[in-house]
Amino acid sequence: MTLMFDVGNKVAAKAVQMCKPEVIAAYPITPQTVIVEELARFVENGELDAEYLCVESEHSVMAATCAAASMGVRTFTATSSQGLAFMHEMLHWAGLSRLPIVMINVNRTLGPGWSLWPDETDSMAQRDTGWIQFFVSSAQEAFDTVILAFRLAEHHEVQLPVLISYSAFTISHTMMPVEIPEQDDVDAFLPPFKPYWRLDWRNPVTFGNVLSDEYHMEKRYTMHLGMEAAKRLIPDLGREYEQRFGRYHGGLIEEYRTDDADYVLLAMASVGSEAKVAVDNLREQGHRVGLARLRVVRPYPDEDLRRIGRKRKLIALDRNISVGSGGWMYHETRSAVMGVEGCDVYGYLCGVGGRDVTYEDIEQMALKVFTGDARPDVVEWWDLKQTGGN
């Protein structure tokens, strides 16, 4: 074990290098660029034996990555914001083809207006593409999740691509100390990729051919089964990872001080780490409050939330927006806990567009619910400035 002190992007790139992908297709975009630059350096200096493809757009990145993954090799790429949006069509291709691609998306506000700061709407817009989606809240968790993600994606019961998202700058450009395991241990946890099927002239299969309505529903159903398997496997693989490496970041959800809580905050990505400080401060003031940090939002942790929500008030802190509807966690949690005894879901939209969300903001949002000044049926835009209409 060695200690690495560097920015989140370089930590994530180190994890990818240790997973030994054979093909990386890349196109740069801030604030992700450091990841693919670092991987290019690893390939250049011989620390990673991979085919490195500089292609002309993010759409081509995903097309090349899908093609390589179809040949049965381990693949990786990274992107951000508009780059992820540009991949959208090919993201469906990766999901429907059951290709175990791992990709990092550094959450950055979609423009215009042009912006660099974190907002999860870019990932949210890919909810229906069949990708498993993790959100991580530290560089260490990013490192560990990359390794776990390849193992999960390549599991024959899953066979789905995995997107790992983390916040622009607050993770991507922030230096924090991270424990790096030995390569032998990573190899033991993550053996070489053995594809369930691949394009192979000795065993010909068709790929991307016409699939009539007679079978298409079943194809979607088996993807859904892959997602359900992931729900079971993510905590199991997490515990196996813990046994080998000594760290466990949670299953689909990391619960923090929820045991005797009357109120539970729901948060993800970097807000999910900041919220722990708010919980500690509110606990000191005598409030029985905890945190459910959602690490995985595809598949959505419905069963966990039904258990956590029983006789409790949930407070969703969304840094994403489906305009005309609302935040990801608010809506999907309300749907999940429908009929759960004594459960109300309160919703805030905070930090949308990349505005900073501080522990003080989180405490104030929670207090407004505690004092009865918030309503569960009205989502509040936190820290909203006066606007002049449209």
Partner: protein, 186 residues
């Protein structure tokens, strides 16, 4: 937890300063360290702010530093456009690159003000980057004089870890000189 905010302009080394201070704290056995920048889409010459948190435990905060214990001002012209005292509690510390006396600032009565001629020290040690004096290493020499959290030895080791050979030595010497020449109003 010690929280530091550094004001500079793109190219002056504010981001590297934050990283070096955190790296030095890590060498001193502080396991919770965090260093990060905040800048706009602009680059060289534009105002840049960077932040450092130093703690014995893991740092869980992800927001920017709004209540710093120490404010570092690399570029004195920042004082004309930005309120560098924002969020600084009465009696907090401001470290400036300046030839003025620490009592000469409009905020000198309210804060512990420390000054060092970091630009002069940088030029003397030939720490020029594209003709512009690098201010970060001398300013950090000043900072570690003002806190118990990071030692001068750890800072010098972190500097030598960042730049090998003569560049590391010149930066380390500049940091040490600033440490010695720092003047404080209280």
């Amino acid at each position: 937890m010690l929280e530091v905010r550094i004001h500079g302009r793109g190219g002056q080394g504010a981001v590297t300063a934050a990283n070096l201070l955190a790296a030095a704290a890590l060498r001193d056995g502080k396991s919770g360290v965090q260093a990060f920048p905040h800048f706009g889409g602009e680059r060289r010459g534009a105002p840049v702010t960077s932040f450092v948190r130093i703690s014995a435990d893991d740092v869980r905060l992800r927001s920017r530093v709004y209540h710093p214990d120490i404010v570092v001002v690399l570029d004195r012209q920042t004082l004309e456009s930005i309120d560098v005292t924002a969020g600084l509690a009465e009696g907090g510390t401001i470290v400036l690159n300046s030839r003025k006396q620490p009592t000469e600032f409009e905020f000198s009565d309210r804060y512990r003000v420390a000054v060092v001629d970091a630009a002069g020290i940088s030029i003397a040690h030939k720490l020029l980057v594209s003709g512009i004096p690098a201010l970060n290493t001398p300013m950090l020499g000043a900072v570690v004089r003002l806190t118990e959290e990071v030692s001068l030895d750890a800072l010098l080791a972190a500097i030598r870890g960042q730049w090998k050979g003569s560049a590391g030595e010149a930066n380390a010497e500049a940091a040490r000189e600033a440490y010695d020449r720092l003047e404080v109003n209280r």
